[in-house]
Amino acid sequence: MGEVIKVGMADLKTCSGEDAVTTLGLGSCVGIAIRDPATGIGGLAHIMLPDSTEIRNNSNRPKFADTGIEDLVSEIVKLGGNRSRLVAKIAGGAQMFAFGSKSDMIRVGERNVIASKQKLSDMKIPLLAEDTGKTYGRTVVFYPKNGEFYIRSVGMPEKVI
């Protein structure tokens, strides 16, 4: 059994071998899991906001979909992953509270998902599966070795995508 490495909010971590990466209680944030299937090297980013260019305090790169994905990819490559073989799965982006869409902040989950997909497609990383939207939180565990992405929510059976 490998180790399960925890990824906090606005954070990213990579791993290889039997190890897994996990992030607990994703709400409107999105968990982006990327791996190189041939080497089993991969990682997970927990992003909070869609776009670093919209915000002035943007030095915390893993906080944003665009810079978070860029950094995750370069970390995986640094660890020995092949840039051209990378594939992705995403989860999260829920709307936890149902306010009338007075502000953009309320729809941030949806915007996070759109921005994450856009960035992946810009970087030509295929998105293999997703479990996004809805109104509940998710805990995810990603095994880069075989690409299994486990999703747990309150009161629901565990899912694998």
Binding site: G27, S28, K63, F97
Partner: protein, 211 residues
């Protein structure tokens, strides 16, 4: 909008928030005691500025199931406000509120399923508590603050906290948490998060003479 940054908030401002927490919690305990019909104590609140990574652990783990009340405020101060407590504590409070008719005790509080009536009751508790804090803030600052209808969320702490965290995330890399312990015959940990937008922050600080 001036370049006010969360990280630059002074310790003086913390003291102000703590005082606000004190008055708010004081008001809330009085209101709660009246509603529940028994004595409720509270401890001095802690005000903490936390990194996003740390928030989950503070409230007992990201996967801890929490009940939270979230509402938006308008008027001189715009922003949102969240109050959360763990599910067992919420079940206990609802049980008290209903005169013990739900039969909840320490053994089954965490697993108790919230129905429509329980949700409505806990929303009312949340309303009273957030109202008490908002009154304290409004009283201290002389600013007009109008709360919206509260929304209820029961889910993992991390998921619920992501909502205010995102709002703070626009301004900086930290989240401001006011923690208060309420106790009657059991201890209830309540967490209170106030997220004014940056202009409102300035307005609050100015009214309090901090800036």
């Amino acid at each position: 909008m001036k370049d006010l940054n969360m990280e630059e908030l002074t310790s003086q401002y913390f003291d102000v928030l703590k005082e606000l927490g004190n008055i708010g919690a004081g008001n809330a305990t009085t209101a709660l005691a009246q509603m529940i019909g028994c004595k409720v104590d509270m401890s001095v609140p802690q005000v903490r500025l936390l990194e996003f990574k740390e928030v989950g652990e503070i409230v007992g783990g990201e996967e801890q199931i929490m009940v939270s009340i979230y509402l938006q405020v308008e008027g001189d101060v715009e922003g949102s406000i969240m109050f959360m407590l763990n599910k067992a504590a919420a079940a206990h409070m609802v049980n008290k509120l209903m005169g013990g008719m739900l039969g909840i005790d320490e053994t089954n509080a965490a697993e108790y399923e919230f129905g429509e009536m329980e949700c409505s009751a806990i929303k009312e508790v949340g309303n009273i508590i957030t109202g008490a804090y908002l009154n304290a803030l409004s009283g201290l600052t002389n600013l007009k603050i109008y709360p919206s209808v509260p929304q209820l969320g029961i889910d993992m702490a991390g998921a619920l906290l992501s909502v205010p965290a995102v709002e703070f995330g626009v301004m900086g890399d930290n989240i401001l948490l006011i923690q208060t312990k309420f106790s009657d015959d059991v201890e209830l940990d309540g967490y209170f998060i106030l997220i004014p937008d940056m202009e409102s922050y300035e307005r609050i600080l100015m009214s309090l003479g901090v800036m």
